[in-house]
Assembly symmetry: C2
C-alpha cells in the first residue's frame, strides 16, 4: 500500500459499497440536518414524537413479562431465560406478529414463516443476501427506490435495475420489459422490490386491480415480489385501505417485510419478514424460506434483542395485537398533516404554476416537482439561507441524471411548522425560478 | 426452474452460505439441545443465570434515563428522542464504552472510533464486509475458530485460512508462513482473527511476550489483527489478567471487538468494535475506520436498539463503568466451575489415561482430547443414551477431517451438574474406548 504516514488504509482497499452514493446518501442528509438544527425539517421521516412516554417502555416490558408468566405459563427461570439469554433465531414474538397480521391485514401465515429482525433493514439484507446466489443475479426495484434497499443490495453485490413507478405506483408493462431484457442479457431477475402503500419516497400507491395484475405477472414470469409495508396503516382519507399484496398472494410469490418503527417505536429496532416460500434443501427436505433466512441471520445479529422484542410484544398485547387500534391518534395526526401540506402547497402555488405535486392517499411523503434540477447544493442553500430542509429526489434514483423534484415529509412536524416550512420553500422556489427559468427533463 | 409442484425454490438457487457447514453448525447444536432438554448441558456457552432479575431491566433503563437528564442535561423531548427514535449510527453509549475500556482494560480510545453493534456478531460482519474488497482478499484465523467468525466470512464471500493455535494460543511461525503463502498465491491476507483470552473453543490464552511478538509481526507483515474479547474479565486464578492486544497496540494494528453478552446480558444484543485505523477517503479526507464501518452498519441494522443500549448503559453506570466490578459474583462462579471441571476430569481420568484436557486460566471452556473421532453422531448418542451434551470440536475447524476432541462449557451449570455431566461423559468415553481403541491423528 502506498500511504502517507498519517493513514493506515485507503478507502479503495475496502469493499466498494463504502464509497457508493447509496451508502453516503443518508450520511449526507444527516450531516445537513445536524448542521442546521434550527431549520424547519420537512426531510425527517421519523414518526411523530408527541405521544412517546418513558413509562410506556416499563409498562410494555411488564405486559410482556406477564404474558410469558400468565398466558404462556413460564416459571421465573423460563422468564429470565427468555428476556436475558440468547434466544430463538427467528424471534420470540412471532406468534404475536402473526396475530397482528391476521387482525390488521387479513394475512394468514404460519408463525414459523416469520423471522423477527433488527428493523426492516436487516430483513431486506437477509432476503437480498439469500437471493444473490451468483453474478448473474439482479434485483428489480420500482424507481424512485427507498435508499436502504439500494444500500443493502450494494452490500451483497446485487445489481438493482429500476422499474418505472409513475403515478400508479408501478408500470407493469415496464416490469415485464425489464424482466425480459434482463433475461435476454443472460441475467436472472430474482425479485422485484415494491412498496405498494404510500411509498417512500414517492407517496404513490398501487390500486387493487394493479395489485392483482402484478401478482399474475409475477406468476407468469416466475418472479418473487418483495413487498415492503412500513406505512400501510396510515391512510389519510375515508376511502380506507387496500389489501396488501401478501393478503392477495395465493401462490407464495410475496416475501413481506414489516416494520414496527412507525407503528410502535423506532428505538426498539424491531421489524420482521414473512417468507413462506417452500425451499427444497440439499437433503430433499422442504421448509419455509424463513428457515434459510434465519441461518443467515444467525451470522448477522444472532437474534433480535429479547428486550426490544419484549417492548414491541407488550405494545402489541396492550391493543389486542392491533396496531390499527394502537395508532388511532398517530393516524389522525399524519392525515391532518398530509392534508395541511397539500392544501398549503395549493395555496402557495395556485394554478397556473410550474410547480406541481402529488396528493398521496396516506403515509408520510409527497413529492414536489419544479422546473429546475434539485441537487445537494440547493439543499445546502435551502438550509443555510432559507431555514428549511427537504430531500432531493435524486437520492432515490440509482444514477446521476439530474432530477427536478424534492420529497417533503409530514411525519415529525406540526401544522405550524408545515406552514413555516412551506413559506420558506416557496421563497426558495421563487428565487430559483427567477434565476433559472429553463425547464429540465425528469419531474 | 425445475421444481416439484410442492416447492417454490431450491436451496441451490440461494447464496451458497445457507448450505455451508458453518451456518448449519449452530442449528444442529441447538436442535440437539432442544430435543434432549433433560440432558445435562456441558455444551451451552451462555452466561450464568442465577443473578438475572427482571427488576434490573427497569432499574438500568431508569439509570440511563436519569443520566441523559441529569448528567447530559437533556430535556424531556431530547430524552424521548434518544430512547424512542432512530439514533446515531455509531451508537449512543460510545462514551460509556470508552470509559469502560479505560477503567477495565487500560485501552484509551476516542469514542468516535467506537461503533456500538447488535452484538459482537454484527461487529464481525461489518469488519469482514469492509475488508473483503475483491476476490483476492482472504482472512486468516487462529484454528480452532469461533464458528460465528467463519459464518460471517461466508456471508461476505471471504475465504478463511487457518493459522495453527496450539497450547500457546497462536503459532507465530505458522502465522508468518500463512501470510507469505497467501501472498505467493497472489492473494491478499487482510487480517488475522484471534481471541487472545480464554478462547472459544480452545480455552487457550496468549502470553504477554507472544502478544508483543504478534503485534510486531503484524507491523512487519502489514497485517491487521482482529481481537475478539468476550471472556477477558473471567480469569480463574490469582495470576490476574494480561493486557489485551489493543492495550498494547501503539500502531493502530488492532481492530478490537467487544461484547456485553457475557458481562451484562445476552438478551440486549449489544456489542461494539473499536476501529481507530485512519482511512483516507476518495476526497482525501482522513477519518477512523469506524466511520466506514458505520456506513455499512446503516445498511445492515440502521442503528443498535436505543432501548437495548440504554439497558447496557444503565448497567455500566451502576458500576462506575467497570464490568470487572459488576461481575464479581459471576467471575467467582465461573472460576469455581472451571476448577470443579478440571478437578473432576482429573478424578475421573487418573494418570495414565488416553483422555487428556487443557487447564484454561479462565473463561467458559476446556477441551478434552480422546483417542477416537468425535462427531455429530456421537453427540446424538451421548444425548440419547447418556444424557449429557457437549460440543464436537470438529465444528470449529473449517474442513472435514475427523477431530478427536470435544469442548466442555462451565458457564451455565452448577458444580452438581458438572459432576453429573462428567459422570455421564466418563461412561460414554469408557464405552467408546471399549468399542474403538484405535488412535486417530488430530487431538
Amino acid at each position: 500500500m502506498d500511504l502517507s504516514p498519517h493513514t493506515d488504509l485507503d478507502v479503495a482497499d475496502l469493499h466498494p459499497a463504502v464509497g457508493d452514493p447509496a451508502l453516503n446518501s443518508m450520511n449526507f442528509l444527516n450531516e445537513v440536518a445536524q448542521r442546521y438544527p434550527d431549520a424547519v425539517s420537512l426531510a425527517a421521516g421519523r414518526p411523530y414524537e408527541e405521544f412517546f412516554a418513558v413509562a410506556d417502555l416499563h409498562r410494555h416490558l411488564e405486559t410482556f413479562r406477564a404474558y410469558l408468566a400468565d398466558d404462556l405459563g413460564y416459571g421465573p427461570a423460563q422468564v429470565h431465560r427468555a428476556l436475558f439469554q440468547y434466544g430463538r433465531t427467528k424471534g420470540i414474538i412471532h406468534d404475536l406478529v402473526a396475530r397482528n397480521l391476521a387482525v390488521d391485514e387479513e394475512i394468514t401465515v404460519d408463525p414459523e414463516s416469520i423471522v423477527v429482525t433488527v428493523g426492516c433493514q436487516e430483513a431486506m439484507l437477509l432476503v437480498l443476501r439469500a437471493l444473490r446466489a451468483g453474478p448473474a443475479d439482479v434485483l428489480l426495484a420500482v424507481a424512485p427506490t427507498y435508499v436502504g434497499l439500494t444500500g443493502a443490495a450494494r452490500l451483497v453485490d446485487l445489481p438493482v435495475r429500476p422499474v418505472a413507478g409513475g403515478p400508479a405506483g408501478i408500470d407493469l408493462a415496464d416490469l415485464r420489459a425489464q424482466v425480459r431484457r434482463a433475461r435476454a442479457e443472460g441475467l436472472r431477475p430474482r425479485a422485484c422490490y415494491v412498496m405498494p402503500d404510500f411509498a417512500n419516497p414517492s407517496g404513490a400507491s398501487i390500486g387493487l386491480a394493479d395489485r392483482r395484475r402484478l401478482l399474475d405477472l409475477a406468476a407468469a414470469e416466475d418472479l418473487l415480489l418483495i413487498e415492503d409495508n412500513p406505512y400501510g396503516l396510515f391512510h389519510a382519507d375515508g376511502a380506507g385501505r387496500v389489501p396488501t399484496l401478501k393478503a392477495l398472494d395465493t401462490g407464495r410469490r410475496v416475501v413481506y417485510l414489516g416494520s414496527f418503527a412507525k407503528t410502535v417505536l423506532p428505538g426498539a429496532r424491531v421489524g420482521y419478514l414473512v417468507a413462506d416460500q417452500r425451499v427444497r434443501d440439499a437433503d430433499g427436505t422442504v421448509g419455509p424460506l424463513a428457515d434459510q433466512l434465519a441461518k443467515i441471520k444467525s451470522m448477522v445479529t444472532v437474534n433480535t434483542s429479547a428486550i426490544a422484542q419484549a417492548v414491541v410484544g407488550g405494545a402489541l398485547l396492550a391493543h389486542g395485537c392491533s396496531l390499527v387500534a394502537a395508532n388511532t391518534r398517530e393516524r389522525a395526526a399524519y392525515a391532518r398533516n398530509l392534508r395541511h401540506l397539500v392544501d398549503g402547497l395549493a395555496r402557495r402555488f395556485p394554478d397556473p404554476s410550474p410547480v406541481r405535486w402529488n396528493v398521496p392517499a396516506g403515509g408520510f411523503f409527497a413529492v414536489v416537482s419544479v422546473p429546475f434540477p434539485v441537487d445537494d447544493a440547493l439543499l445546502r442553500r435551502s438550509a443555510e439561507d432559507y431555514g428549511v430542509l427537504w430531500t432531493p429526489m435524486a437520492h432515490f434514483y440509482d444514477d446521476t441524471a439530474p432530477v427536478a423534484a424534492l420529497r417533503l415529509s409530514i411525519s415529525a412536524v406540526t401544522p405550524g411548522q408545515i406552514d413555516t416550512g412551506l413559506d420558506r420553500l416557496a421563497a426558495l422556489i421563487a428565487d430559483e425560478l427567477a434565476r433559472s427559468p429553463v425547464p429540465v427533463a425528469r419531474g
